[in-house]
Amino acid sequence: MNVTEESPAGGMAISACEFAGIVREHQAMVFSIAYHYLHDRLLAEELAQDVFLQLHQALPRLESPAHVVFWLRKVASHRAIDYGRKRKLRLVSLDRAPEPAVASKSEDPLLGERLRKLVASLPEKFRILVILRFQEGLEPDEIAGVLEMPVGTVKSQLQRSLAMLREKATRYLGGGVL
């Protein structure tokens, strides 16, 4: 799916400092959507840069900070799906850069990485749903707005995603507690 935004002629100038501030505020969100979808740090950075370049063009048309966040989630999600279709994803990809360090609250230092890999192995539509639900904390109706899907479909696909993850966790991780 391609999302294109055209820059209006004579758009309002945005100062570089203001834009840099917007980038710093939202870069973790955009990068994380990309990273959790693609499980590839270099590709995720490339995607995130593309999203912000596109935002730089579209910013004059956006109406509020909330609109910016909605726009970023939508474009990042659609771009992630596009990027994912262009390459074959593998559950484990050793040639890519590693994931950035995040302190884990879990007692198991490997659980987070295992789950991220399982998420990255889900079918594309399920994967982005899980990311928007559990990374961004969006409710199904908000996810439906971002992905332009019916709410009912979001709910049923989320349930199927979790069932699939539970089955994969049992199969690959020997899980019982999940």
């Binding site: 050793l94 879990s106 007692e107 198991d108 230092p109 490997l110």
Partner: protein, 179 residues
């Protein structure tokens, strides 16, 4: 006519002072596998990784302690979308190397029902563990793990013990021979 089966040796991995030979057929499995993992961590890479493991934070500290003194780690893991993609003869030839002096098989689990076979071997240097080998064979998956250096298998197993499986002793106890 007798069939002559030759295993062409391509890769030699030093483990616990011994060259462990990985049959060439195993490294070609990557092309057939739907998922594969090929990791070789030598001493320098392990040292570099160790610098990025924080010694005072719980999880990193556990990992750092676990790999202290380890000289190399090798992992070859292949998952196939149908059975019988790897050679049983190659696997038997690989396993046979762990009957060499110094190696002890501490666990062997076989399930004829599921056609699964897992072996865990350790190499001892006096009273110390100097090497660990895990060979896990299933119809659609083959995993080899070789660790050169001191590695406590029970601590390694505990690393991910958070899945509803009770923490247990690591199978039969290893009794090191008295000098």
């Amino acid at each position: 006519m007798k069939k002559i089966f030759a295993v062409v040796i391509l890769i030699c991995l030093p483990v616990a002072g011994q060259e462990i030979k990985v049959p060439a057929g195993f490294d070609e499995l990557g092309a057939k596998a739907k998922e594969s993992v090929n990791i070789t961590l030598d001493r320098d890479t392990l040292a570099m990784a160790g610098k990025f493991l924080s010694g005072d934070k719980g999880n990193d500290a556990k990992l750092k302690e676990l790999v202290a003194g380890v000289r190399a780690i090798y992992v070859r893991s292949f998952e196939f979308d149908k059975p019988n993609q790897y050679s049983k003869k190659d696997l038997d030839a690989f396993r046979a190397q762990f009957r060499a002096p110094g190696w002890s098989k501490i666990v062997e689990v076989q399930s004829k029902e599921d056609n699964e076979h897992t072996e865990i071997h350790i190499k001892k240097d006096g009273k110390q563990i100097a090497g660990l080998a895990i060979i896990a064979a299933e119809p659609e998956e083959l995993t080899l793990v070789l660790i050169d250096g001191p590695m406590d298998p029970s601590k390694l197993a505990e690393l991910g013990g958070n899945f509803g499986i009770p923490r247990i002793e690591m199978g039969p106890k290893v009794s090191l021979p008295k000098d």
